[in-house]
């Protein structure tokens, strides 16, 4: 069978993915250990918030295989997938379910973390906006959500190893190189060349959101502008 190398994952998406891996491992470890590492937990929180904002924007203005509408797991797509009729590059509908679940849980973790407090010395940057009682509640959720994240990460990594060992399909390499060998008559040839302006827009927006969340003076200024 003749095959051709196709671009499946654009480079900003791959950088996003591996930075997110580092962020999740780092946030989990520093969160469990506490002490001086709590300082790092908050820094990693900023990184994670930035990454999530970037990915949400990239899902609309990024390249084709990063577009949410490209892989949103509709009932129809899931049906086709389970009947074995789904052959496309990018996330398959079942994997897409797990991608959206991961993104959703991470959004919830970051959002609750912004308002959290550790009852020792550290507070999330938006703690003063909610007060202690509500912050305690959100801190509880922050901790409970970690278990859901762990479950999804186990599924995610488990599925990758199932593909690698059972189906003999390596999903890790395309997430590093961006390319995948596919039969030459592959129906979909996605355009995965990231536009510089779009990349700059998504990145700058992510940085701006992180800056606004951590800088109360800048938030006040934005509130003034909005009035």
């Amino acid at each position: 069978m003749r095959s051709i190398k196709l671009s499946v994952w654009d480079w900003p998406l791959r950088v996003f993915h591996w930075l997110l891996v580092v962020a999740v491992i780092g946030a989990y470890t520093t969160g469990k250990l506490g002490g001086s590492l709590t300082e790092w937990h908050l820094i990693i929180g900023r990184l994670t918030l930035g990454l999530i904002v970037f990915r949400l924007l990239w899902g609309f203005i990024g390249t084709q295989s990063a577009h949410f509408k490209q892989f949103f797991p509709t009932i129809n797509r899931l049906k086709r997938y389970f009947k074995g009729e789904w052959h496309q590059l990018g996330h398959n509908p079942l994997g897409a379910l797990s991608v959206f679940a991961l993104l959703f849980i991470l959004m919830a973790l970051v959002s609750t973390g912004l308002f959290a407090n550790d009852d020792i010395a550290y507070e999330g940057p938006l703690y003063p906006t909610v007060g202690k009682a509500l912050s305690d509640q959100l801190t509880g959720w922050h901790g409970a959500l970690v278990n859901f994240l762990l479950g999804l990460v186990v599924l995610h990594v488990g599925a990758i190893f199932y593909y690698l060992l059972h189906k003999k399909i390596n999903l890790i390499r395309p997430m590093i190189t961006g390319c995948k060998e596919v039969p030459i008559d592959e129906p979909l040839h996605p355009n995965n060349q990231p536009g510089f302006l779009r990349f700059a827009l998504a990145t700058l927006s992510a940085i701006l959101v992180v800056y606004a969340v951590w800088n109360s003076e800048f938030r006040d200024y934005l509130a003034l502008l909005a009035q």
Binding site: G34, G35, S36, E39, D118, D119, A121, Y122, Q137, G140
Partner: protein
């Protein structure tokens, strides 16, 4: 003689009252104690981590001394009687029911709290901000080990 006996009895009864607070009082006082500890820890953190320009050696030393005094205050014996896992002080207690089965670990953490705050005093006197920061981390980890062990998560 009669008067001395009377005074003695009164003193005894007072001391008994002090030793055996009603359950809700114990819960309220320990919640207050931890709030004061949090206030002082936050003050140290603010001056050595967030705004190093505001570092004030005397204030940090006072905060550390307060923490050490509270660590030495015998709170395990005074404020954690059987039954204090239920009830409300300023708000409902979050003490786990199995607190009373974990006495050895609790004692170990309490000893560590005393040790870390005592060492903190020497470090705060030295005025070495980097060392203060690192000791604050060790103290925070001690607080966390207890939160993880005996406190109900919200």
């Amino acid at each position: 003689m009669k008067l001395t006996t009377l005074l003695g009895l009164t003193a005894l009864s007072f001391s008994t009252i002090v030793l055996a607070n009603p359950i809700e009082d114990q819960i309220r006082i320990r919640q207050s104690t931890y709030a004061v500890m949090g206030w002082n820890t936050a003050k140290i953190k603010s001056q050595v981590v967030d705004h190093p320009a505001t570092y004030n050696k005397d204030q940090v030393l006072t905060a550390v001394n307060t923490l050490a005094a509270l660590a030495h205050s015998n709170l395990l014996e005074d404020l954690y009687d059987v039954g204090t896992d239920q009830g409300s002080g300023w708000k409902p207690t979050r003490l786990k029911v199995d607190y009373f089965q974990k006495q050895a670990e609790v004692k170990e953490i309490n000893d560590r709290l005393i040790k870390e705050t005592d060492e903190f005093k020497t470090i705060a006197v030295s005025g070495d901000v980097a060392a203060i920061k690192s000791q604050l981390g060790k103290l925070g980890a001690t607080c966390k080990s207890c939160h993880d062990l005996i406190r109900i998560k919200e």
